[in-house]
Symmetry: C2
Subunit: 310 residues, 2 copies
């Protein structure tokens, strides 16, 4: 049993109460604390040495990544981040200058997004440095975008370029906060998620929450230069399209919106965010599975066994 | 440099914003989200294998402790807990039944206190199991008790019995939520903190935040049976009074209130909470240091070198 399956089994048995609008199963928990027009967004996330960063990762980038990952989850619900707490796990021996640089990166990222660091704890973590972020944000009740809500016939959109983030973008990505709020303000999107586990996995989360399927148009999927370079540099690596579909840590937005407004949306987006590509990569279907269409026709996209696929 | 000194240096440089009423330096962060009469309390805390629990600790108690520690911080500000997120760090090999039991203990504790578990993440943590809790609560603006606020002449009170928690109470303690709210409702207390690092350390935090000192009356300090037993069982261990002063993880409440109302308060407390002792253990002084008074007279209580003390 993997971690995710375990959590899926354990979380539903845990208690809830009236404050929780939306618990486990979306990018953030959504809380109603009694404000007439706003919900609170609540997110926790951790990065761990040897898993999300390495001993030689520039420490400023570690702090930045820790916060930016959680910011991306606030973006996925079209929210605005407010304040964070940082729990820092340190091995028994640590280099104070490294920790200071981690906090400098974290502080810069917080400042850039108007987020307060409202406190922090340290604890010993014998296995290595760990940063756990708890983040609060808010969203207008009528602008909150969830994973649920995609409808058959919707067009499927993705921002940016996908795959190969491990070459560097996993440390430097920009959480798409302004873009998500713009989308919500324009009222086009039906459902949204941020890409942390890879397009194929995260699309599956969105489809499951919405009770629908999708047909992906393979040639439309935006493949990053990093994914192409990685393939050229090491021929044995997975093909660029597969990298774009399955590499993690893109932290782009994946969302659906009515197909009839797709061209207008793409035009308006390009005027608003000329630096950030937005691509229509397929459509939502009633049948609950993922199909990939390319010049050879259509084939189902298997849940496991990506290695056999491309 | 130890972790705490490092954090003290780093946290003030981090950004804040208008939502933060009280940032680093109290038991919880206090946030103003626009509710007319309430503040939000925001806390993050982690427990780590080999530090806060061991490989053979009953797993239900691990989950319980993780949440109860954070609840104790909500209690320290006289708040009411609302909802928590759980981040679970797991080594690459783990026993699903153990994790399930950790969540069962966590869930029971949440249920007991009306707390929703609003979501959770898992991550790999190569060094061992880690649980990081992010907890939200609330407090009426005019009932929030802080570390700051103690006044010279105040009496100093502590709940329960102190020392030797490592023998078992560190897993079984009850966060003093109802007691703290009762105190705040009765308007007696000036300043409060929960005891996590040991009476001497936590008193020092309260005094520093309030800009005052204290005289402790040694014979009044409530020493737990566990601290006495530990001393009898191993003569080389620190004397029971020193254990009560310096052992951590008591998770009792330490607070100050006007001395003139002390007898009335102790009487009312005994009627309200007959099972939980409340002791007056000293008084707040203008001079910013801790003095210990016993039958031999008074002596300063040193910040370091407890081993030389008793």
């Amino acid at each position: 049993m993997n971690e995710l399956d375990l959590l899926k089994r354990l979380l539903p048995a845990l208690p809830t109460n009236d404050s929780v609008v939306l618990g486990a199963g979306d990018d953030c928990a959504v809380m109603d604390l009694g404000l007439p027009d706003r919900w609170l967004l609540f997110k926790a996330d951790a990065v761990v040495e040897g898993v999300h960063f390495l001993a030689d990762t520039p420490p400023e980038k570690i702090g930045r990544k820790a916060l930016a990952r959680a910011l991306s989850d606030i973006a996925a619900m079209a929210g605005t981040p407010t304040a964070a707490l940082v729990t820092l796990g340190l091995p028994r021996e640590f280099n104070p200058a490294r920790i200071e640089a981690i906090y400098a990166g974290l502080g810069d990222c917080a400042r850039q997004h108007g987020v307060a660091i409202a406190g922090g704890e340290t604890t010993t973590n014998p296995g290595g440095v760990l940063l756990s972020i708890a983040l609060l944000g808010w969203v207008a009740k009528d602008k909150c975008l969830r994973r649920a809500g995609a409808q058959p016939g919707d067009a499927l959109f993705v921002t940016g370029e996908l795959g190969g983030a491990i070459a560097g973008r996993h440390l430097d990505f920009e959480p798409r906060l302004a873009e998500a709020r713009w989308l919500a303000a324009h009222g086009e999107a039906h459902a949204m998620i941020d890409l942390s586990d890879g397009l194929a996995s995260d699309l599956r989360h969105l489809l499951a929450a919405s009770g629908v399927g999708a047909e992906l148009h393979a040639p439309a999927i935006p493949i990053s230069r990093a994914a192409r370079q990685a393939h050229r540099a090491a021929g044995s690596r997975k093909p660029p399209l597969l990298a774009a579909l399955t590499d993690g840590e893109d932290f782009e937005l994946l969302f659906t919106a009515p197909a009839r407004g797709a061209v207008t949306l793409l035009d308006a987006w390009q005027k608003q965010f000329p630096q950030l590509p937005l691509k229509c990569i397929g459509r939502i279907t009633a049948e609950r599975r993922i199909i990939l269409r390319d010049r050879d026709g259509v084939k189902p996209f298997p849940e496991h066994g990506y290695a056999h696929f491309a």
